[in-house]
Structure formats: structure tokens, C-alpha cells
């Protein structure tokens, strides 16, 4: 049973595991636990246990201020650029490589070890190396996103194809389906729920990649808001920036999760 579960549940990184755990919880519990979290934050801030820790309300006020003066919007425009480019690359290459590895032994032998290594490697340690090779521009940030999100997407696509029930494949063969029909009408549809779950986790990892890049390479976008406000000791603003990116990631992943259920799970839809 546990072995079976790991075989069928998607491979996840730290960020994606946490975020998807959040997005799997029913709405009422989410609201309740958020309320408790924010209340605790407010109380914690008021006790002044740490001079740099603002209260929840101060943070929200700072958040509102940055949204109103446009600095938040401008920061996100910068941050989204490497994030979106990186995710598109990860999606295209990750899904194709994953499907190819699932379908063909030679592709599996050639490519799987690369993704497993990438998944296991500590990214924060590799970022200086990326910077050394590709400089401090957009390329390095895109690469950071790719290196975090692609392995999760590729490995889950691979596992998804591998987990397609053999009896469906035999069924297709027995009704004289060609290999092409087998892939298009059985394997890909059967694999897509798990593949999509992997994509959702990969996107969550991408968020963490872009923030890491903006903190460790050069401060731009949301990473700039965080470092700049820390340097001038505007801690409510710093926390507001962190809060906003976490919230954005959770909301994006939750929406993807909802889309996943409506798209692929007739048995979970409705009643």
C-alpha cells in the first residue's frame, strides 16, 4: 500500500509539496486556518518579540500602499518575465521529455538520470554557478526557474505515462489500434491527470525558483522589493512583498488544482 501510493502520487519538491498540501484542503478549513494564522501573526507582532517583525495589520497596510503607488505592479511585471519564460520552457521540454521517457526505453536510459539528478541537487548552491556562466541577466533567472520546475514536470510526466493501465493498452491493440492511436487515444488521456498534477507542482517550484534568483542573482522585481525594504528597515513592506508572492503562488496553484478536477476527474466533479 505505501509503495503503491508513492508509485501513483506525483513527485514533488519542497515548495510544491507544501503549496499543494494547502490547495488540497477544503475551503472552510483554509479560511479558518488562515484566520488563526493571521491572528497569531497579529498577536506575535504586537508582543514585539523581534523588533523587525511587523504585525499583520501593518503588513497589510504596507501591501495596500505598494499596490496603490504602483510599485507592486511594476515589480510583478519584472518578476513574471523570467517566471513565465522559464515555465513555458519547462512545460514544453519537461512534458515532451517525460512522455518520451515513458514511451521509450532508450529515452528513459538517456534522460531520466539527468532529471533525477536535477531534482535532487540543492538549487541554491547551483545558482552561483549559473551566474558564473550566464551572468546576472534574464538568462540566469530563467535558468533558475527551469532548473527547479522542469525535473518535477518531466519526472511526473514520465511516471504518468508509466502508470497507464496495461489493460487499456492491450484493449486498444486488440481492437487493432495503431501505435499512434494507442498513444493519442489511450496513453496520453490516461496519463494526463497525473501529468497535470506534475505541471501544477512544477509551477509551484517555478515560483520558488524566480524568488531565489531575484534574491541571489540580482535584486529585481519582487526580490528587489524584499531586499530594498529590508535595507532601509521598512519591515512591514518587506513582509508585504514576501506575503504577496506566497499568496500569488498559493492562489495560482489552487486555481490550477480546481481546473485539474474539472478537466480530468469526472468522478470527483459535482456530487
Amino acid at each position: 500500500m505505501p509503495a503503491d501510493q508513492t508509485a501513483h502520487s506525483p513527485v514533488a519538491g519542497v515548495t510544491s509539496r507544501w503549496i499543494s498540501a494547502v490547495s488540497d484542503v477544503p475551503a472552510i478549513w483554509k479560511i479558518l486556518s488562515l484566520a488563526i494564522l493571521f491572528a497569531a501573526w497579529e498577536i506575535g507582532g504586537r508582543t514585539n518579540f523581534n523588533w523587525a517583525f511587523p504585525t499583520f495589520l501593518e503588513t497589510m497596510a504596507a501591501l495596500w500602499e505598494m499596490i496603490a503607488d504602483g510599485s507592486m505592479g511594476a515589480a510583478y511585471l519584472r518578476t513574471l518575465e523570467p517566471l513565465v519564460i522559464g515555465l513555458v520552457i519547462s512545460l514544453v521540454i519537461g512534458v515532451s521529455a517525460g512522455v518520451a521517457m515513458g514511451l521509450r526505453k532508450d529515452a528513459e536510459w538517456l534522460t531520466l538520470p539527468i532529471f533525477i539528478t536535477m531534482q535532487a541537487a540543492p538549487m541554491a548552491a547551483l545558482i552561483p554557478l549559473i551566474t558564473f556562466v550566464y551572468g546576472i541577466g534574464l538568462t540566469s533567472k530563467v535558468l533558475a526557474v527551469v532548473m527547479l520546475s522542469m525535473p518535477v514536470i518531466a519526472i511526473n510526466s514520465y511516471k504518468a505515462v508509466r502508470n497507464v493501465p496495461q489493460s487499456l493498452v492491450h484493449m486498444c491493440h486488440s481492437f487493432m489500434g495503431s501505435r499512434r492511436q494507442q498513444i493519442l487515444t489511450v496513453i496520453l488521456p490516461a496519463a494526463s491527470p497525473m501529468m497535470f498534477a506534475g505541471i501544477r507542482l512544477g509551477i509551484a517550484e517555478g515560483f520558488s525558483g524566480v524568488v531565489l534568483a531575484e534574491l541571489l542573482i540580482t535584486p529585481t522585481g519582487i526580490g528587489d522589493l524584499i531586499t530594498f525594504n529590508r535595507s532601509i528597515a521598512k519591515f512591514p513592506h518587506m513582509y508585504a512583498a514576501i506575503f504577496s508572492i506566497v499568496a500569488l503562488a498559493v492562489i495560482t496553484v489552487s486555481l490550477l488544482h480546481r481546473l485539474e478536477v474539472t478537466l480530468f476527474r469526472p468522478e470527483k466533479r459535482g456530487a
Binding site: 489493460s167 492491450h170 484493449m171 486488440s174 481492437f175 487515444t185 490516461a190 480530468f264 469526472p266 468522478e267
Partner: protein, 268 residues
């Protein structure tokens, strides 16, 4: 004692039971070690229902998959309508033990899937599938998904899918084993009725003696390890009229006892 045979009646049908499938000297050895089938010679007659009966592990599924072209024999040959089998063919359709339905597709799409693979247009294949969905008793369920159906209903979808491609031979691997007893009995009775409308050759794998005797024109008994044909039995049971009456028919009950006596040696 007068017995009316279901089909084909040798008295008035001129072409006496012609073989649609011939099996010649089939051996199947898995991984060079496990001999699953040894020297199988068999013929399956057109329009008859033949059961492959034997204890678990005697090679029934292996034989059926070889007939279906899903598995290659180690040696020997299978011919369908005189032509050697090299793979699945349009004259054969398979009903799977675990149903093998696509969970993301409706009953209608599942039932029409064989036709979809053949490139039949959407309108036509759905019309044909609708007909067979109704024939197996699922009218009104066309737009349901497999998870909304009971096990018995899912197997009916698998049967409709096999019927829709209009193959001459329907092969079923323990089609009733995954459903409960009441459903199984109902299904068996429906299969007898279906045979009156659909003139097809049926090959049924089962490990149930009752089921084999209840349904078959011929029963091929397989002995285990290595699987060999040990006996061929031709029940002569009138299947017209009340389906429940058959189960109390003394000839039906006697034959079950006979076969059981013959199989007992293998099981013990």
C-alpha cells in the same frame, strides 16, 4: 428424451459445424521456463459457444490471448477462416476480465471505441454503438461514465464495444468473475438470449463448471501444468424457455457432477 439443440441444428442446417478457428500444435513457454500450454490441437465451430474450462493457472488466458493475437505462441499455428493469425484481426473481438474501459469516456464513446479506431465517422459509429448499448440492456446510460456504473454494467459496456465492431468471434476472459453472483446469473441468462439475436462464435474462458455447462455448446477441459486438452464435452441442454429451469434440469446437474469428478484429480 427429445432435445432441441440451440444452434446449429445438424438435422436441418446443411453446413455441419465448420471450424472458424483452428489451433494446431500450440506450445507456449514463458521465459524459457514455464510451460503454460503443451501441444494444443483444437477447432472452434462457427456459431457455437465454446468454453475453455480448467483450474486457475492452467493456461486458459494464455490460450485465449494467443487466439486473439495478443500473444505469440512459442510454436504452432492458429488459423482464423483458414488464414494464419499474426496479430489481432477484425474478425475477432475481445471482452476483458477487468472491463478495460476508458474512465474519461462516456458509455457511448467506450462502446464505439473499436469503430473509432477503425476510422468510422462519428455519426455512424455512435448510431451503431447506441444500438448495441441498448442490446446489452444499457439504454439510457449512454452519457454516463464508467465510475457511475456497477461492475455488471461496466462489463456490459465491454460487451457492447466488442459487439459493435461486428466481429465473427467474441472472446471473453472470465467476463463474469469480477461481478457478484446475482449479476453473474442475470448476465449468463442475457448471454443466452443475446445468442439468439447475434449469430456469432463465442469463446468463453471460465473456471466455473456450472457456468460452462449452463452456457456452452462445447466445453474444452484443460489440465494444469502444463496446460493440455484433457477432454471435450458437448452438453446437450435445451436453453429455450425459462432460464431458471435449466439450473434444475437433471442433465445439467449430472453433467456438472461428471465434469467435477474428472477435474477433481487435478485439484487434489
Amino acid at each position: 428424451m427429445t432435445m432441441t439443440h440451440p444452434i446449429p441444428d445438424p438435422e436441418d442446417a446443411a453446413p455441419v459445424a465448420s471450424a472458424i478457428i483452428e489451433v494446431e500444435g500450440i506450445h507456449k513457454i514463458y521465459n524459457g521456463a514455464v510451460t503454460a500450454l503443451e501441444n494444443i490441437h483444437l477447432e472452434f465451430n462457427r456459431g457455437e459457444l465454446t468454453s475453455l474450462l480448467g483450474p486457475s493457472g492452467c493456461g486458459k488466458t494464455t490460450l485465449l490471448k494467443i487466439l486473439a493475437g495478443l500473444l505469440k505462441p512459442t510454436s504452432g499455428e492458429v488459423r482464423v477462416n483458414g488464414k494464419p493469425v499474426t496479430g489481432p484481426g477484425p474478425e475477432r473481438a475481445f471482452v476483458f476480465q477487468d472491463f478495460a474501459l476508458m474512465p474519461w469516456a462516456t458509455v457511448l464513446r467506450n462502446a464505439s471505441y473499436g469503430l473509432e479506431l477503425q476510422g468510422v465517422g462519428k455519426r455512424e459509429r455512435e448510431d451503431r454503438a447506441r444500438h448495441y448499448v441498448a442490446e446489452v440492456g444499457l439504454a439510457g446510460f449512454e452519457d454516463k461514465y464508467p465510475h457511475e456504473l456497477s461492475g455488471g454494467m461496466r462489463q456490459r459496456v465491454g460487451l457492447a464495444r466488442a459487439l459493435a465492431v461486428n466481429a465473427d468471434v467474441l472472446m471473453m476472459d472470465e467476463p463474469f468473475s469480477a461481478v457478484d453472483e446475482q449479476t453473474r446469473r442475470k448476465f449468463q441468462e442475457d448471454l443466452i438470449r443475446l445468442r439468439e439475436i447475434e449469430q456469432k462464435t463465442f469463446i468463453l474462458v471460465t473456471h466455473s463448471i456450472e457456468e460452462a455447462v449452463y452456457l456452452s455448446d462445447r466445453i474444452v477441459l484443460l489440465s494444469p501444468r502444463p496446460g493440455r486438452v484433457s477432454q471435450i464435452v458437448t452438453p446437450n441442454i435445451d436453453r429455450h424457455g425459462d432460464p431458471e429451469a435449466i439450473r434444475r434440469n437433471p442433465e445439467y446437474l449430472d453433467l456438472i457432477d461428471d465434469i467435477w469428478a474428472g477435474l477433481r484429480d487435478y485439484v487434489e
